[in-house]
């Protein structure tokens, strides 16, 4: 969690986004993770997605639990607030933050240990509530920071570095999310930024809880032969099913995609998520079908990736709670306190 200041180099010709910011403006402190750790690639994708979307860094909020993965919120968006909470309980902090101010963009970063063991309850209930946030689960099948114990996402038959074989069924965040009513369920791979960056963009723009389960190999404790979360294994069994792009405005969609080739899902902000099926028979808009297809692939040992399910029709937590447009934390006190006269009036009920 130590953070070294990264030298900021001024690149005159660096590409700039709509806000005039460069990619560097989306970076954070120097990573202290192991060289080659999958999480660092995700960090880079995260920064890129924010750059692409031209979100002002200070209007984003990063929340995380505890673990190597959870440290990474320090390594991108240096200008946004980060909250590195306690182990497994980030979703509740994110939920509280999200209702306090609906005007910001919320990103949760967690690990498989953080989300699927100690944090399973909070993870599940944040999905149920459809908290408006992007939740990136950096999934390496182990507890990295505590040095290599199996996590609950370890596959049956996966072998640990110490040679132990996991015999417990894995918890798959994707099928779990589907069965709990999540509204945006995706899987990516730290090794495929082409796919991951647009997934993050789409997840950020989705109205509600956007889950991206990202296979993210741990080079120190789970990248050996026998591991099913290694780079080698993931590359081998990796299967992209649905590619997703976020497109800011309806017109642009027409321009960039031929009819029939892609489906588009309209978003609240006027943009859309454009889905290109790589698997012709995959239907990312049918929850039951998605569940069936994901489990079937999993049974065959394949790792299906892409935007596996999306539903923009459900209310997010803010809507469920009938929150006003104006963030709760900006209401002037006068709009919140009923005042002395009202108090005097209601007191009559207690006589």
């Amino acid at each position: 969690m130590t953070s070294f200041a990264k030298p900021i180099i001024d690149l005159k010709n660096a590409p700039r986004n709509a806000l005039g910011l460069t990619r560097q403006d989306y970076e954070g402190a120097m990573s202290t993770l192991c060289a080659g750790c999958g999480h660092d690639s995700i960090t880079a994708s995260m920064a890129r997605a924010f750059f692409n979307l031209s979100i002002e860094p200070y209007r984003a909020v990063k929340v995380s639990g505890i673990g190597c993965s959870s440290k990474t919120t320090a390594y991108f968006l240096r200008e946004s607030h980060g909250n590195n909470t306690v182990h497994g309980r980030m979703p509740s902090v994110a939920t509280g933050a999200a209702v306090a101010n609906t005007g910001l963009t919320y990103i949760g970063v967690s690990g498989d240990g953080d989300s699927l063991s100690i944090g399973l309850g909070q993870f599940a209930h944040a999905m149920r509530r459809n908290v408006n946030m992007l939740y990136v689960l950096e999934n390496n099948g182990v507890y990295g920071l505590t040095k290599g114990q199996f996590s609950a996402s370890a596959d049956i038959g996966s072998v640990s570095k110490k040679g132990e074989v996991n015999e417990l069924p894995p918890i798959d965040p994707v099928t779990l999310a589907l069965s709990l009513g999540a509204t945006f369920v995706a899987r990516g791979f730290s090794g495929d930024r082409e796919q991951l960056v647009p997934l993050i963009e789409a997840g950020l723009k989705h109205n509600g809880f956007g889950l991206i389960d990202v296979i993210s190999p741990c080079v120190s404790f789970n990248d050996h032969p026998g591991s099913t979360k290694s780079y080698a294994h993931t590359f081998k069994y990796y299967h992209p099913a649905v590619h997703a792009d976020y497109v800011p405005m309806a017109e642009e969609i027409k321009a960039s995609y031929d009819a029939g080739e892609a489906v588009s899902v309209k978003l609240h902000d006027g943009g859309a998520i454009v889905l290109r099926k790589l698997d012709a028979d995959y239907d990312p808009c049918d929850r039951a079908a998605a569940y069936a297809q994901v489990s079937e692939r999993a049974a065959r040992g394949e790792i299906i990736t892409g935007l596996l399910y999306v539903d923009e029709s459900r209310k997010d937590l803010a809507a469920l709670k009938k929150l006003p447009k104006r963030p709760l934390n900006t209401y002037p006190y006068a709009d919140l306190c009923p005042g002395a006269a009202t108090l005097a009036r209601v007191m009559d009920r207690y006589r």
Binding site: R59, P91, V99, A100, L104, P324, Y331
Partner: protein, 604 residues
């Protein structure tokens, strides 16, 4: 024991829970209150929904005392399962009322009480047909009988019934009919009124009857709290229920229907406090009501908020521990836990409301303190305060009062700063400045429960770590004169050798005990502690007396423990006076303890 008299006696009603008796009993109590006579009501109910014993105690106290007396002058014995114990609890000369529809052997067991049988079931069954109405109307019928015996104005009861059923007016007539059944029967068959009874006074003007949870919920609204997260647990549930209904009344936008509040029923207490921390960190006033088990579960997060310096308001409506304990009985058993909750060196701010009125004011104070000191603040109520209706002064509010949001840098301030450092003690008061997300790029910092230095960056360096935790201790100490100050009630009869300290719901019993003891020549100065860390006055008060009784509703003398830990007071001076049976404290208990102490001293 003094004899019962006009406007000075206690009625106890023994019922079966789930039969609607609580509302009938509440109505009875309120009818006395409306007669201008002060009352104390205690509802003793089981941790169960239907079928188990429950008691309601109404003390009529012309002197306006706020506690149970400990005596029972009239027993309305409606629960066959507890007859024996109910009859036994009646004082000699008392009056027993029971339903004599069926023969009851037990009522004959005492010769020293007056036994009045009323054929409640018989009358009610004759008058009403639906099964559920029969159950409910039996309650109203005994209310009628008691009203007659105590000479309570029937029109007051009628008004109350009308108010209660304002939205279901069809129910007014049958309820009044049931009241009349009992009333008329009593008038006809007994000498009404009894020697002890109600006589109109004017001692409840400017007073209300309210429970602490309702008042605390209202306090949160007045404090400007917008986010409440909780997990249901007796006896804190009704606090959030109250907040919700106040918000529905005051905080729903008429046009859009938008809510200027957000209540989340969390999946458990860990999530509830997490949500509060997230919302507070993000600049909303947020709180969670809970009880002991919830505090235990929140412990890890409490330490996080302490160390990362995030405001949070927790209401601990205490119940009997340890563990699940007796969830519907009262105790002050979480004092020490709340003071030092979480691993590592931690210490927190506590407030001790003594009644519903203070639940209201201290709710508001709690948010100010939490934001001022950027730390968790606990309001330690209990089931007695939280769920019983207490007579208190009408709540009022000063419209000039503005919330103290603490040291939060605005966008303008940040703009003018070179750089922002989260944990520096720039003002020398141990309190750093904070920023809110989304306000200004310069405000960004990384909040963490791991080691950090004054600049807010990660550290594992000894000196940097210590600098922060040392400041945290100073910051906490700085709250000693910011929490509500202790209140001293000097002995009536001049200078007192002895003092007595109490907090929370023990207040009424202690005041009454002091008065009664004074009448017996034992003079006590009384200090009510209202906050922790302790103000200097607490030590001064103890120093000024030979010995001080510390009244607590727990086994382990927990507040006394805090005094031993946090002041320089001599242990010998602090005499524990402990009551932890789960019943609300009665004045007799305090009085008897001190009388015994006095005798001991005299014979020693």
């Amino acid at each position: 024991m003094s004899k019962p008299g006009i406007n000075d006696f206690t009625i106890r009603l023994a019922n079966v829970n789930g039969t609607g008796s609580a509302s009938a009993n509440g109505l009875l109590m309120k009818s006395i209150f409306r007669s201008g006579v002060p009352v104390v009501g205690k509802n003793v109910f089981p941790s169960n929904i239907q079928g188990l014993p429950t008691w309601y105690e109404i003390r009529v106290t012309k002197d306006g005392y706020g506690a149970r007396s400990g005596d029972v002058d009239m027993m309305v014995a409606m629960n066959a399962n507890t007859y024996a114990q109910d009859i036994a609890s009646l004082r000699p000369g008392g009056v027993l009322i029971y339903d004599n529809t069926w023969p009851r052997q037990h009522v004959l067991s005492r010769k020293d009480v007056t036994v009045l049988g009323v054929p409640l079931a018989q009358m009610v069954n004759a008058a009403f047909t639906a099964a559920r109405s029969r159950v409910l109307m039996k309650n109203m019928a005994y209310v009628g009988a008691v009203a007659a015996l105590l000479d309570i104005d029937k029109t007051i009861i009628e008004t109350l019934v009308q108010e209660t059923f304002a939205k279901k007016t069809k129910l007014i007539a049958p309820n009044m009919q049931a009241v009349a059944l009992g009333y008329d029967y009593a008038k006809e068959h007994f000498d009404c009124p009894l020697p002890f009874h109600v006589q109109k006074m004017d001692a409840t003007r400017g007073k209300i009857m309210i429970d602490g949870n309702t008042a605390a919920g209202l306090g949160c609204v007045y404090a400007g709290a917008t986010v409440g997260a909780w997990y249901p647990i007796t006896p804190s549930t009704s606090l959030m229920d109250a907040f919700k209904s106040w918000c529905r009344e005051f905080r729903v936008d008429e046009k859009s229907g938008a809510h200027r509040f957000c209540i989340i029923q969390a999946e458990d207490e860990l999530a509830a406090i997490g949500m509060v921390i997230g919302a507070s960190w993000n600049g909303a006033r947020a709180f969670t009501p809970t009880s002991g088990p919830g505090i235990s579960l929140m412990s890890e997060f409490i330490g996080f908020a302490y160390y990362a310096e995030i405001p949070a308001v927790l209401f601990d409506v205490q119940r009997v521990g340890p563990s699940t304990g007796m969830p519907t009985r009262t105790q002050q058993g979480d004092v020490q836990l709340c003071a030092y909750a979480s691993h590592g060196d931690t210490r927190h701010i506590l407030l001790f409301p003594a009644n519903p009125a203070e639940c209201f004011t201290m709710a508001a104070d709690a948010f100010d303190l939490a934001e001022r000191f950027q730390t968790p603040v606990f309001v330690l109520s209990d089931i007695d305060i939280g769920m019983n209706d207490w007579m208190v002064d009408t709540l009022d509010w000063d419209d000039a009062r503005q919330p103290d949001r603490g040291k939060v840098l605005s966008a303008e301030q940040l703009d003018q700063m070179d750089r922002f450092y989260r944990y520096r003690d720039v003002d020398g008061d141990g309190i750093p400045w904070r920023t809110l997300p989304g306000v200004h790029p310069k405000g960004a910092y990384f909040t963490r429960g791991s080691g950090h230095n004054a600049d807010g960056t990660y550290t594992e360096k000894e000196a940097e770590y210590q600098e922060v935790v040392d400041r945290l201790k100073r910051k906490w100490q700085g709250a000693a004169d910011k929490v509500p100050a202790p209140i001293v009630r000097p002995a009536r009869g001049g200078k007192a050798r002895w003092g007595i300290i109490a907090y929370g719901s023990s207040d009424g019993a202690v005041i009454e005990a002091c008065d009664r003891l004074a009448a017996q020549g034992i003079n006590l100065d009384y200090m009510r502690v209202r906050g922790f860390p302790f103000a200097q006055e607490v030590s001064d008060f103890v120093e000024a007396h030979e010995q001080v009784f510390v009244v607590e509703q727990n086994r382990d003398a927990q507040l006394r423990g805090l005094m031993l830990l946090e002041t320089d007071l001599a242990r010998e001076k602090l005499v524990p006076l402990l009551h932890y049976s789960g019943e609300p404290l009665a004045s007799h208990f305090v009085q008897d303890f001190i009388l015994a102490q006095d005798r001991k001293e005299k014979t020693a």
